[in-house]
């Protein structure tokens, strides 16, 4: 059996030799991310069945927890790492041709690093490494947001950097407080002892961690960096940021709240925040004219939905939230990738410049439509299944509080429907802008068409057969909710 | 079976004869009120015969069919209205001498719908000519119909609710048992009487076929046999409306003779009032119909509903 540690080690190694490969052959670096992610995808998926039976705990340097650095490849971790690898692979393929200008080698290195960071975050078993991987993720994304190097993207990158740095320092403070209290960094170890110490100081550390990770998780009001960053980055990076990076943030928050602290009682408060996030995201997206900002705001809205599901603290709620993680990752990555070439084609990020794309780039438009329908939650696409699960979970709590919040959240989905379906109308039924009337049909290169098509196919396939992921979802939800068995699994006997 | 066939033939003929005579009577009454001698009672008969022999123009098949539809519709309506006779067995009124060949089909609701055929046929026929006067006349006709239908429907509904049935023979039978409708639903009777001129299209509601303004409106293009048939249709329609009034409020008739006498009384009363009034505009007609008759009918209906629910 391969060790989960390869999921981090191999891509990391590949990332560092990429510049060397670039020296050897000019075109080589652009294939490296794809190779790395293909490897990760195969490994993650092959490990998943084992992890569903029992989490795979990897101890480094022969030390046993709580003292060692260890990875916990549980169902949740491997599910997310498979997702990361899948999206990463598709984006990497997309990036081969999409990234032509600028420091391309560095782009490829950094894009691997983002993905390694995200993989590390979901697999690590101790808080400090959580922080380290988190930083790898964040720092590479700061750099990539500013990749185009024009003033807007540099400004966005700088803003992101400032807020991200504050978040990171909060995380560090939180970890420091935890270490002071328990003298340990292993999540399982802290979790086992957390009930013994219940003090205000502990809550302060929790508050720091939530706020710190919350910045990356794009929870309201910590998400102000997101629209700028996601819209200024190259579309392939936007896809990763929206599809994966913020999910890593969510994962970190969920781990902290559920596993480390077992702080179920603050969840109603989190639920309130989540619905606020959702509504504000959708409302801001509603009259947005910039397609990428619109998609970014819509990501905020979907984050709200995910957090809402998580905040229900029930198995159905958490698995629903994880389902939204998957459906949103697929759909949003698809939308960013598809709109990437549309923007390249028209040279404008105005929503109206997409008008008439249905005849100019029919396949891309079709896939875009599939993604948009999925996000709105229309069957038979995967978004419907995830929305259905969220609603079901909320109603199964039989708690008036959640039912009311659900009603508000559904208003958000109505708004989402309004703006996405307006774009779809534009694609097919609005005349193209004057200068583009003469243009003939021209699809993006195969390296873009294939990832986009695969994503669309996945959206339909998982939408029709949610059973494909359902079992993993249940186990992953359990992984998050069942603290005792987590502790037991990691600490061993 | 034989009686039924005889009745089927008899009642339209009665309607034709009485209707056309009523037209003549109408002219006579107006003339007398105007201190003129007036034409003889049978003048409409002469007119019809004369016109039948004249040749008409035609604007198309619908132009011709419209007239057929109007007259046939009015004649069919007659078959659903009891024209006197005592109801003994309600299950089969026919067997006991009620002159109403198709009483067993649909009741008052069917009558209301069949009464549509007249105006509708005329409207379609007249519409087929490209004469704007005809169109304006039809527009007025339909509006006027809407205007008087509101109180008329209220009246009918009040009666139907009062007797809890939609069958006219049943309504007649109940009146013969327990007093006339004019006593049990008096406000409805008054309201119906007020809109009678509008339903008959006589003064002051003769604005549909006003000769001076819109060249007789829907009739503008018609001549010869078509005009004759339309005149007959007017007579039959008159008969239907008055007969319905007698059936709903005056207890029908013990036999045909008393029925016709009651009709005569109602008609003369309506005509006397109408004759002294000038023609009014369509807006005023609508306003009138939706004011007093509607208010009275509404009041009666409210009373009926309340008294039934208590």
């Amino acid at each position: 059996m391969v060790s989960p540690i390869l999921l981090i080690a191999v891509p990391l190694g590949l990332a560092f030799i990429t510049p060397l490969l670039g020296l050897a052959r000019k075109g080589a670096p652009r294939y490296v991310p794809a190779v790395a992610m293909l490897f990760n995808l195969l490994v993650s998926v092959s490990l998943l069945p084992d992890a569903l039976r029992a989490p795979i705990v990897v101890r480094t340097a022969g030390w046993a927890p709580p003292f060692s650095i260890h990875l916990v490849a549980g169902p949740l971790g491997l599910l997310l790492s498979s997702l990361i690898a899948l999206i990463g692979l598709l984006v990497a393929v997309y990036g081969m041709d999409y990234i032509r200008e600028g420091a391309t080698t560095r782009y490829h290195v950094l894009s691997i690093l983002i993905l390694v960071g995200a993989t590390g975050v979901v697999l690590t078993g101790d808080v400090f490494n959580l922080f380290v991987f988190f930083e790898i993720l964040c720092i590479s994304s700061y750099a990539l947001v500013a990749y185009w190097g024009d003033s807007a993207s540099v400004e966005a990158g700088a803003k992101y950097l400032i807020q991200g740095a504050i978040g990171s320092s909060f995380v560090l403070i939180g970890i420091g407080l935890l270490y002071g209290a328990f003298g340990a960094l292993s999540m399982a170890d802290i979790a086992a002892n957390v009930s013994s110490v219940s003090s205000f100081r502990l809550f302060v550390s929790l508050a720091f961690l939530i706020t710190g990770f919350g910045v990356e998780a794009a929870v309201f009001p910590l998400n102000a960096w997101l629209p700028d960053a996601h819209s200024s980055a190259p579309s392939s990076i936007s896809a990763i940021l929206s599809g994966i990076a913020i999910k890593a943030g969510i994962y970190a928050v969920a781990r902290v709240v559920y596993t480390i602290y077992g702080a179920q009682s603050i969840l109603p408060f989190v639920a309130l925040l989540s619905v606020a996030t959702l509504l504000i995201g959708e409302m801001c997206a509603f009259s947005q004219n910039d397609i990428k900002r619109l998609l970014a705001y819509s990501s905020i809205g979907q984050m709200g939905l995910i957090v809402f599901g998580l905040a229900m603290a029930s198995a159905t709620g958490v698995s629903a939230a994880l389902f939204v993680v998957i459906s949103h990752a697929l759909a949003k990555a698809l939308l960013f990738l598809a709109s990437g070439y549309m923007i390249l084609r028209t040279g404008s990020r105005e929503v109206s410049s997409l008008n008439g794309m249905g005849t100019r780039m029919p396949l891309t438009s079709l896939c875009f439509t599939v993604g948009a329908f999925s996000l709105v939650g229309l069957p038979p696409f995967v978004g419907f299944a995830s929305k259905f699960m969220i609603v079901r979970a909320a109603l199964e709590t039989a708690d008036t509080f959640f039912v009311v919040l659900l009603a508000i959240a559904l208003i958000g989905t109505v708004i989402e429907g309004a703006y996405f379906l307006r774009i779809v109308q534009g694609l097919y039924f609005k005349p193209a802008p004057q200068q583009a009337r003469e243009e003939t049909r021209k699809e993006p290169p195969l390296s873009a068409l294939v990832p986009v098509g695969v994503l669309a196919a996945l959206i339909v396939a998982v939408g029709l057969y949610p059973g494909l992921v359902e079992r993993a979802l249940g186990a992953a939800a359990n992984d998050l909710l069942d603290r005792d068995s987590y502790v037991q699994n990691v600490m061993g006997d | 079976m034989v009686t039924r066939i005889i009745q089927l033939l008899l009642s339209p003929l009665i309607a034709l004869a009485v209707g056309v005579l009523f037209l003549g009577l109408s002219r006579k009454i107006i003339a007398r009120i105007h201190r003129r001698y007036g034409p003889p009672l049978y003048q409409p008969v002469i007119d019809v015969i004369r016109m039948m022999s004249q040749r008409s123009i035609s604007h198309g098949s619908l132009f011709e069919l419209g007239v057929v539809l109007a007259l046939a519709g009015s004649l069919v309506t007659v078959l659903f209205i009891p024209l006197g006779g005592t109801v003994i067995c309600r299950q089969n009124p026919l067997a006991h001498g009620v002159l109403c060949p198709l009483s067993s089909s649909g009741g008052l609701l069917v009558v209301m719908y069949l009464m549509l055929f007249g105006p509708l046929g005329l409207a379609l026929g007249a519409g087929d000519s490209a004469n704007p006067n005809a169109s304006i006349g039809v527009s007025r006709k339909l509006l006027l119909a809407l205007a008087y239908e509101v109180p008329f429907l209220l009246v009918i509904l009040a009666v139907m609710s009062h007797y809890r049935t939609i069958s006219i023979t049943e309504i007649v039978a109940r009146q013969q048992e327990s007093g006339w409708g004019v006593l049990s639903v008096p406000l409805s009777a008054v309201a119906a009487f007020l809109i009678l001129p509008a339903m008959l299209g006589i003064r002051p509601f003769d604005l549909v076929s006003a000769p001076q303004e819109i060249a007789s409106g829907p009739l503008a293009e018609y001549g010869g046999s078509y005009l004759a048939l339309l005149a007959v249709q007017k007579g039959v329609h008159l008969f239907v409306v008055i007969a319905l009034y007698v059936d709903l409020f005056l207890g029908g008739g013990v036999n045909l003779a008393t029925f016709l006498v009651k009709m005569l009384v109602v008609f003369v009363a309506a005509e006397m009032i109408a004759a002294v009034l000038p023609r009014i505009r369509i807006e005023s007609a609508v306003r009138f119909c939706w004011k007093w008759p509607t208010a009275l009918a509404l009041l009666q209906m409210a009373i009926t509903v309340l008294s039934k629910s208590v």
Binding site: I166, F170, F203, V204, A207, T211, P221, A224, D228, Y261, I266, M283, C284, P379, A385, F388, L395, A398, T413, V414, L421, Y428, F429, K430, G467, E470 | L8, M52, R55, S56, I57, S58, G60, V68, A72, V76, S104, S105, G106, L109, V110, Y113, L116, A123, G127, D128, S129, N131, P132, S135, L142, V150, L157, A158, M160, S161, A215, S225, L229, S309
Partner: protein, 618 residues
């Protein structure tokens, strides 16, 4: 053939029509027609069957079930019939336009989804097909571009609101009873108290009300029906809005059941009575708004809202008479409204897209068959005896009177008289009167357009004279919903219901017409003249346009136009506008100044700690 086969054919037909269109337009057209005709046959062959089977087990932990029964069959035959006619009509209508393959794909998909809805044996598949129908319809409504985009967006937004409400309703049922299978739910439903039941019913009613354009949830309809391509307007008005009715019947009668339903009442109101009153309002106001319209399709759209009012009114009374009337009227309205939309579509096709009632006229001379069919459809809409519309309306009126609701009956009857006004306006302004010079050489509608019209017209007349045929299919439905089926004979009703014999009315009318025709035959034959040869009181007939169409019912229009505004629509538009403004204002929280953003982060931290200090949430 079971429901599974029918659905497979329908969905495969939709899916294949697009790729076939890329190969050859002709093959696609033949294929689409064949599939839709095959569906009619398959559904017809399934008459009288009943049964359930699981076709997909374990979708999100639930079994998806198809079921066939009398109710499903009745709606399925309506759907497949109107669907087939609209495909046939489309053959010429969309020829030579853009995205024709897409058009057929979406049209067949809407039909397939509707068949899916009616054959669904559990609420989840019901909902899935419902949503597929919604988005496919949205794509088709937007097909005409221009104003159609607004209509399509309005439709889909309202539709999403409705489906959110439905989703909440059906998942509440799931949370309470742990199943979504209709037959199982029907057994367990009563266990949770009336308050819960009422909440669920209201949630469903919002969904169904929006789809069936029940006042005050109707506001998408006038835009969508008038802007959609005409064959699809026929589908929209004919069957798509009936899916809401199907939903109402399914949930109210099949799921909740009569006994519980009638228990949902307070001192003064009950669930049913609210529905009835909404139906009555839905008859009155839209009918008179329809009278004011100058766009033929908009007029018909408003008329659809009015006719839905009749159906809701009949359905709201939980009596066998009312339900029979409502179901029969559902079918009738599907047929005659499809006919009228297709007739307007034929005129639109020949005149190059004109449907303004003030620009047409005299087309009876050029398109006599279209006119004759439209006339039959219009008479059916009014409910003139000898058309099928009469029988269904008669049943509804009779229910209202028998149940002692004369005020509701008044609304229904006045609505009918309003219908006379707008039907005549439609027929007169398009087909009667002066034929404008530019249309003097118009061709008659092509055969594939006339065929659906004639079929619809024949159905209206046939079922008007022999209402027993469709009522034979309605009877078992009413029986299966726990009511005593209405005793219908082939020709009408026996004395138990209140006698009605359409054949005797038909015979009497035929005799009367014959008699009058004989008299006419005996008199002098008329002389045909040209349209200019008309009486103008001695002065010459003016050149140019003199057809009386503008403000046809002038005094009425003048008096009512101020009151007959679409209050609901204005309200929603205002809310939407206000919300939009609010959203824009809200966006200002993202000031673009990173100092503010940092402040937000610190504020949240401080707030969290503050909350803990004060309330000790953990």
């Amino acid at each position: 053939m079971g429901a599974g086969a029918i659905l497979t054919v329908a969905l495969a037909g939709a899916g294949l029509s697009y790729p076939l269109g890329l190969l050859s337009a002709k093959v696609r057209n033949v294929f689409a027609t064949a599939v839709s005709a095959l569906l009619v046959c398959l559904v017809a062959a399934a008459y009288g069957r009943s049964g359930e089977h699981v076709y997909y087990s374990g979708f999100l932990g639930l079994d998806l079930i198809l079921r066939t029964d009398a109710l499903a069959w009745f709606f399925a035959i309506t759907v497949s019939l109107v669907g087939c006619l609209s495909v046939v009509f489309s053959l010429r209508y969309v020829r030579g336009r853009e995205k024709v393959s897409f058009y057929y794909f979406a049209l067949l998909l809407v039909n397939a989804a509707m068949l899916g809805i009616v054959f669904s044996g559990d609420l989840l598949s019901f909902f899935i097909f419902w949503e597929v129908m919604s988005w496919a319809a949205y794509l088709l409504i937007s097909y005409n571009r221009g104003r159609a985009l607004y209509a399509g967006l309005k439709y889909i937004v309202m539709s999403i609101i409705g489906s959110c409400a439905m989703l909440v309703g059906l998942l509440s049922l799931y949370a309470a009873h742990d199943t979504l299978v209709i037959s199982e739910l029907a057994e367990r439903i009563g266990s949770r108290g009336t308050g819960f039941l009422l909440g669920v019913l209201v949630a469903f009613s919002i969904g169904f009300g929006i789809k069936s354009a029940m006042v005050p949830l109707h506001t998408w309809l006038p835009d969508a029906h008038s802007e959609a391509p005409s064959p699809f307007s026929a589908v929209l008005s004919g069957i798509l809005i009936k899916m809401g009715i199907y939903g109402f019947v399914l949930v109210m009668y099949a799921l909740v059941g009569l006994k519980l339903l009638l228990g949902l009442r307070g001192a003064w109101v009950s669930f049913n009575s609210v529905l009835c009153w909404l139906g009555a309002i839905g008859i009155l106001i839209p009918t008179f708004i329809a009278v004011l319209q100058t766009d033929a399709k908009r007029l018909l759209a408003w008329s659809s809202i009015g006719q839905i009012g009749y159906i809701i009114l009949g359905m709201g009374f939980a009596t066998s008479l009312g339900l029979t009337g409502a179901l029969f009227h559902t079918f009738n309205h599907a047929v005659f409204k499809a006919l009228l939309f297709l007739a307007v579509g034929a005129v639109e096709y020949r005149t190059g897209g004109v449907r303004d009632l003030n620009e047409l006229g005299g087309l009876i001379k050029r398109m006599p068959v279209t006119f004759a069919c439209a006339l039959v459809g219009g008479l059916g809409l009014i409910g003139v005896p000898l058309t099928s519309g009469f029988v269904s309306k008669w049943l509804i009126y009779k229910t209202l009177i028998a149940e002692g609701h004369p005020f509701l009956a008044l609304a229904a009857l006045v609505g009918t008289w309003g219908a006379i006004l707008y039907v005549y306006k439609l027929l007169h302004n398009m087909f009667l009167g002066q034929l404008p010079e530019k249309y003097a050489h118009l061709e008659a509608a092509p055969f594939t357009m006339r065929l659906p019209l004639v079929v619809c017209g024949s159905i209206i007349i046939l079922f008007g004279i022999l209402p027993g045929i469709p009522l034979g299919a309605v009877g078992p439905i009413v029986g299966s919903l726990g009511l005593e089926p209405v005793q219908a004979t082939l020709t009408g009703f026996g004395p138990q219901v209140g006698p009605l014999n359409m054949v005797s009315i038909f015979a009497a009318a035929a005799l009367a017409v014959l008699a009058v025709l004989l008299v006419l035959r005996a008199s002098a034959a008329p002389r045909r003249v040209a349209q200019e040869d008309s009486y103008a009181a001695g002065s010459p007939v003016p050149a140019g346009r003199y057809h009386h169409t503008v403000r046809f019912y002038d005094p009425l229009e003048g008096a009512t136009i101020g009151y007959l505004r679409d209050w609901a629509d204005e309200f929603y538009t205002r809310v939407a506008g206000g919300a939009r403004g609010g959203f824009d204002g809200l966006r200002r929280i993202y000031t673009g100044d990173v100092r503010n953003y940092v402040m937000y982060i610190v504020c949240l931290l401080a707030f969290l700690i503050f909350v803990q200090m004060v309330w000790h949430i953990w």
